[in-house]
Symmetry: C2
Subunit: 222 residues, 2 copies
DNA sequence: AAATACCGTTGATAAATATCAATGGTGTCG
DNA sequence: CGACACCATTGATATTTATCAACGGTATTT
């Protein structure tokens, strides 16, 4: 067997060392928000965190890339370590209907498709470059089995999600356009700042024109 | 001590026997739907059902009576054995906004108030004479602790509730007035039949007049 | 650097729905 | 039995919001 020239080998070593350093940095930061969030509610030991990591799949997503497209099955529940995503459906007129945004520390998925395995009617794409953690349903079930505390966490999380959605519903029905916008601005200023206004409008159930005019009304009135 | 006349004692015995019979009948029927519903998902042993019954409080409610009023804390999660309830809020114009209906086998509460102990912004009243089972939050926690299977049940139930609400949201945003009404008619014909139309309208986010006209449109067109 | 896509704003008009008011029917209760 | 509460329907009108079209600014791509 022919021997490789030494300089090539040397280059490999250097490259390897550099990538290793990057990998360490990458891994240490990759789960930071994730476990911070969970540990706000239950306390996981280092061992338990290790179990968890077995089922988590890190993924980076560039702005405008899809992680779920209409017609596909939603195989993963997505945790946002960094960045910003949105889920939306496209109605018969071809307009986007934004369902949800997801910032750092939030989860996003089409739960119905995720649970049933039916094709999704939603799209999920990145509004900014993202770092995500993916876990599939079997993974979640396995973690809940191995770490019973996590079932408790899942229940509480789902309960909170339900309550939040119910409140959003009540605001949608009760509040005027302007009040709804202000509510969002008040509660999630980050979203309003980082998301194009026409997507905010869609999220609030308005056309871009209507939101633009409503904002104008709010500045000058009296 | 003066002795009571015998005939009085005799009358007591008869009354007692009658009431006992009624009580037995009452108790056997009282939890029927409840455990049937739960056992569709998990299986409870007789012992476990007995534990459960310790924390359940049967209650009958007459048509038009309230079980929760705006400003009160929602102390109970309510299971409907029989009858029909609705939750609603009253907006600043004094109109009712129906949030939810609950038929036999369903749960109803203001979850936010129930969990946090904050005063509720909703009313819950009976649209028909009802038989209910009430359980407070400590009771639920205790049952989840003593019967871990029930935590699993709670998680799944909450997950389903979330998915259902999400779908309702998507229908509200996507579908036309008529499609929404048909969806409800298709999915819950019982509700449409048993509830006055103006409450259906409110549930769908419409005025009674608009729903009336929409129905008319649906019969004659073409 | 030029071309292009994306975005927010504004105006004119159309459509959907709410609001106000009146009517008649039905059931309930004293 | 009659008075009253409750309810669905219909008409006329007002309000809200969507739709269509055009413009100018900014960022992105080539």
């Amino acid at each position: 067997m022919k021997q490789l020239p030494l300089f090539l080998f040397e280059r490999c070593r250097i490259t390897l060392r550099l990538n290793l350093a990057k990998l360490c940095l990458f891994l240490s930061g990759m789960y930071e928000v994730f476990f911070k969030k969970i540990n706000e509610v239950i306390h996981l030991t280092a061992d338990e965190e290790a179990i968890f990591k077995n089922y988590l799949k890190p993924k980076k997503l560039r702005k405008k890339q899809f992680i779920l497209q209409e017609g596909d099955v939603c195989k993963y529940s997505i945790f946002v370590e960094k960045g910003l995503l949105r889920s939306y459906s496209v109605n018969e007129k071809g307009n986007d209907q934004v369902v949800q945004f997801a910032l750092e520390g939030w989860w996003i998925a089409d739960l119905y498709s995720f649970i049933t395995g039916e094709p999704s009617r939603y799209n999920i794409d990145a509004l900014e470059d993202c770092e995500l953690l993916l876990i599939n349903n079997d993974g979640l079930k396995e973690v809940r089995r191995q770490i019973p505390k996590f079932l408790e966490f899942s229940f509480l999380q789902m309960q909170n999600a339900y309550i939040a959605l119910e409140r959003r519903w009540s605001h949608m029905v009760t509040l005027s356009t302007e009040e709804r916008y202000n509510k969002l601005l008040d509660k999630y200023p980050d979203i309003v700042q980082r998301v194009p206004q026409h997507m905010i409008a869609s999220y609030l159930g308005l056309t871009p024109e209507t939101l633009s005019r409503a904002k104008k009304q709010m500045t000058l009135p009296k």
